[in-house]
């Protein structure tokens, strides 16, 4: 990669949204008021699996202040991202406790809540199933009788008809049975993880308006406006021009939770019936825990064959992900879990089966890591089990096995620009792996991770240069806290040659901001970064052409610095952009640059969640812990975290992503567990579901490794999404190092630690 002189990219520019946010001026969905707006509330199922015998809404409809009540019978439409299986409100039967059954629209929230109490629903309970492995067994109650005939987004979504399996992903290389036969040691372990809740501090919300001509407008805190628009247009069978999705200027946290249709679906259901009135639905905290999505609970069985010297010969992985009552993004989560299920290692013989399984519980979907936390928990825990058995150092074993450029990934792709080894080396060095003394009951551990990135999906952008030389960026990337608005502005400022303060990114609105697949999968810096870079370069070329005559120089000899077009060798022969526009166009000047990035793909690859990856998310973490043998509590002394950014466009926001991700991962490691009794969530509040507070958050040393990617803007790729992934196994490995116990089921609570210590002492 040629070295370029960069002025803005690579600097820790202050976030463009920081001032608004700290002063309380940032606008979120609940701050948006639309004239004539009504308020909606949702009646939800109290049964995990039941036939709806009848619904009586007559008393609710008569309540003064109620404008209408909608049930599933009124909205005979189906939506879903990868598998069309979800009604806007339950029809015929409910499939989880917390599923929407009816929605009331009223003049205020209190009236809507009162009306819910007046609706009578008669149910007939059905047998339910909650465990993902049990749900795959013959005779298990069927949650979707017609899974085999549901419309799929692409042929690589593979439900198994007549079962609860809504996707079966398989990956085989070599001959795994022969590999096991040639191995000196076979390791077989089962690892589990519970449901983790996203816990965005801002809940889901949406305002929906449907007029008499079925023009549909939705204001939302959705992470991906164009994906939502397409899902809505397909479901209601209207042209996309009839659907407009407007995203609130700021979204109060996402972590994957605000994709798909959540509050949007129920707001649309009532707006479909109560026409010409915008209707707002804001979810309560309890609805967040019970009626949105969480992280897939998992069971991962890992069988690995190794030689005496630690060389990996074969690995068979079976992954069961409980996706809840509807597929949501489960099929693609299970695909990603499968692709990376064996870990970032050279293993010649592999067999991976990943099952996405319906259960009668609240849905699981996209959540920071997207299959990564479940599989890394398994393969990185077992890595240390193997190292210990063979008497090998855990870092040394990983250094020997980790893949590097030129290796072939399990998916068949030849790897390039893989900074994972560098991440591990940096972690080991910063935690003084071989030399730092630790105290009694203290230990250290490391863990690696890789994860796929949603491929191949496009991103488009427009760069509008205004009459005064300022620049508007039209991009549908949503600012959910990750800092993309800042990154986009930095890239445009750098490429165009204008100051940061001159660039402003617009909030997404499908009527104006061009197509973007999604703000997910850590794809924005890479994909949208490329798109805005192209758009800025396009605008720059147009400006140079316009300035050419004025400055009496060829466009090739011109450039733009600090908002002035000038002759490269003579910065004093310059004109401000505003002057270039006015000299050419009088009072009506503008330049519009455009960019569309879509990755180049090998022939024959699927165009929907392909196996080939445009880049990989990679990282290594080290943990130092102290275990209290009396109470079973684990104290995290420090986490060292190195993740491959390719190139840190903004080092400060990269490190922020690591700090936040590690803290979320530490919560998953030690405390977070959405608990159920049957289908009912037992702890749907922050009081009973412990999100790490300022007193719990660990000390973190974040590191952004810069292993440039040839196709990324300035070498950059994504970093944020998977910074939580290696944290739990790094902690578990450190606990083993400290006191010699191996916990295989998250979270690592004091009772599990005490029980394991007791078992160990008895041996």
């Amino acid at each position: 990669m040629p070295t370029e002189q960069l002025d803005i990219v690579g600097t820790s520019s202050i976030r463009v949204d920081a001032r608004d946010k700290v002063m309380g001026k940032a606008i979120y969905i609940d701050d948006i008021q639309v004239p004539g707006m009504l308020h909606g509330k949702v009646l939800r199922s109290r049964y995990p699996h039941a036939r709806i015998v009848r619904i009586d809404t007559s008393r609710a409809e008569k309540l003064p202040g109620v404008l209408g009540v909608v049930t599933g019978a009124d909205v005979p439409f189906i939506h879903g991202e990868s598998l069309l299986d979800e009604p806007f409100l339950a029809r015929d039967k409910v499939r989880y406790t917390g599923e929407g059954v009816a929605v009331v629209a009223a003049v205020d929230v209190a009236t809507a809540e009162h009306a819910l109490e007046l609706i009578r629903v008669e149910y007939k309970e059905l047998p339910a199933v909650f465990d993902p492995v049990e749900a795959t067994e013959p005779g298990a109650p069927l949650i979707h009788e017609n899974v085999g005939t549901y419309t799929r987004a692409a042929s690589n979504i593979k439900p198994i008809p007549g079962t609860n399996i809504c996707n079966h992903f398989q990956l085989k290389t070599g001959d795994v049975e022969k590999g096991f036969a040639e191995s000196d040691y076979i390791f077989e372990d089962t690892f589990t993880t519970p449901m983790q809740a996203h816990c965005c501090i801002e809940t889901h919300g949406a305002i929906a308006l449907v007029d008499d001509e079925t023009n549909i407008t939705v204001w939302a805190n959705n992470d991906s406006p164009h994906r939502a628009r397409k899902e809505i247009a397909s479901a209601f069978k209207v042209p996309m021009t009839k659907v407009r999705v407007i995203i609130a200027p700021y979204v109060g946290g996402n972590f994957g939770g605000k994709g798909g249709l959540k509050a949007e679906a129920v707001a649309l259901a009532i707006a479909w019936k109560v026409r010409n009135r915008p209707i707002k639905i804001m979810y309560t905290r309890e609805e967040e825990f019970c009626s949105t999505i969480g992280r897939h609970p998992s069971v991962v069985r890992m069988k690995t064959g190794v030689k005496q010297d630690g060389t990996f010969v074969a690995r068979a992985v079976k992954i069961y992900l409980a996706t809840g009552a509807y597929a949501e993004k489960g099929p693609t989560v299970s695909t990603f879990a499968g692709i990376s299920g064996a870990g970032p290692y050279r293993i010649p013989n592999l067999s991976i089966d990943s099952y996405c399984v319906y259960t009668n519980r609240q849905l699981a979907g996209a959540f920071r890591g997207y299959g990564g936390p479940q599989t890394a928990w398994a393969y990185e825990s077992q890595m240390d089990i193997i190292a210990h058995k063979l008497g090998l150092d855990p870092v040394e074993l990983r250094l020997r096995q980790v893949y590097v450029d030129g290796d072939r990934h399990a998916n068949g792709q030849i790897l390039k620009s893989e900074g994972l080894r560098d991440c591990l080396v940096q972690v080991a060095e910063s935690m003084e792996w071989n030399s730092k003394p630790l105290g009694k009951n203290q230990g250290r551990g490391v863990a690696l991770m890789e994860r796929a990135i949603k491929t191949p999906f496009g991103s488009a952008a427009f760069v509008k240069v205004n009459e005064d030389g300022t620049v508007d960026v039209l991009s549908s990337t949503t600012e959910v806290g990750q800092g993309s608005a800042t990154i986009v502005c930095q890239i445009v400022a750098e490429e165009l040659g204008v100051p940061m303060a001159s660039v402003r990114k617009a909030a997404p609105d499908t009527a104006f901001t061009p197509y973007d697949a999604s703000t997910t999968s850590s794809r924005s810096t890479f994909h949208m970064g490329n798109a805005v870079k192209m758009a800025a370069a396009d605008a720059k070329q147009q400006l140079l052409a316009l300035a050419s005559k004025l400055l009496k120089a060829s466009p090739d000899d011109l450039t733009i610095t600090q908002g002035k077009v000038h002759v490269k060798a003579m910065p004093e022969r310059a004109l401000p952009i505003s002057k270039v526009l006015s000299e050419n166009y009088g009072a009506s000047g503008t330049v519009l640059g455009r960019g569309y990035y879509y990755p180049e793909m090998p022939e024959g690859e699927s165009n929907y969640f392909s196996r080939y990856m445009v880049f990989w998310l990679l990282g290594a973490q080290g943990a130092e812990v102290e275990v209290n043998r009396e109470t079973g509590e684990v104290k995290i002394l420090k986490i060292y975290a190195a993740h491959d950014a390719g190139k840190a466009i903004n080092p400060m926001t990269c490190l922020d992503q690591i700090r936040g991700g590690v803290t979320l991962g530490a919560g998953f490691a030690l405390s977070e567990n959405l608990m159920f009794k049957g289908g009912t969530v037992l702890n749907p509040s922050f009081l009973s579901y412990p999100v790490p507070s300022a007193l719990d958050a660990p000390e973190i040393e974040p590191m952004a490794v810069e292993y440039a990617h040839p196709d990324g803007p300035y070498g950059a790729k994504g970093i944020g999404e998977t910074t939580n992934v290696p944290t739990p196994p790094a902690i578990a490995n450190a606990i083993y190092n400290a006191v010699g116990i191996r916990i295989k089921d998250l979270p690592i609570t004091p009772d599990k630690v005490l029980a394991a210590l007791k078992r160990k002492d008895e041996r």
Partner: protein, 153 residues
């Protein structure tokens, strides 16, 4: 529903309001006074996104009935500005990078300002305790804590 007459001083300005007695202070600040910097996160006092100063003390405004604030002084995040300039705590949080989605930020600012008023030079542990009732899912808190300590120095 009968309405109750209350007087409130908010960010130094007096208000007289007739309100539904079921309304919380948070409802009144957001819906009646259009002060939307104070956020609803959980409606049960657990997350701290709605923190305001009530007679100088940080409280979750979702747990205070508006009628109970009758005759009292409220300061919200908007009221911390002096001559349109952000409070030193606000400036420090911006400079240190302790902001991501920003939804919890106003509550954290208010809790931190309250801490610094009673304890101008807090230790790290004291800062963490002061904002322990303000949940943040994005940042890991480290930069927020550093920012508040930098103001205290």
């Amino acid at each position: 529903m009968s309405r109750h007459h209350i007087t409130l001083t908010v960010n130094g300005d007096p208000y007289e309001l007739d309100i539904d007695p079921r309304r919380t202070l948070l409802d009144v600040l957001r819906d009646e006074l259009e002060l939307r910097g104070t956020h609803l996160g959980c409606d049960s006092g657990d997350c701290g996104a709605c923190t305001v100063l009530l007679d100088g003390e940080p409280v979750p405004s979702c747990l205070v009935l508006a009628v109970d604030a009758d005759g009292r002084a409220v300061v919200t995040v908007e009221g911390l500005l002096k001559d349109g300039e952000p409070h030193p705590v606000q400036k420090a949080i911006v400079a240190h990078g302790g902001i991501q989605c920003g939804y919890c930020t106003p509550g954290i600012v208010v809790s931190s300002v309250a801490l610094l008023k009673r304890n101008p030079q807090p230790t790290e542990e004291q800062v963490r305790e002061a904002i322990a009732g303000n949940l943040c899912r994005c940042t890991g808190y480290q930069k927020i804590v550093e920012a508040v300590m930098a103001v205290g120095k």
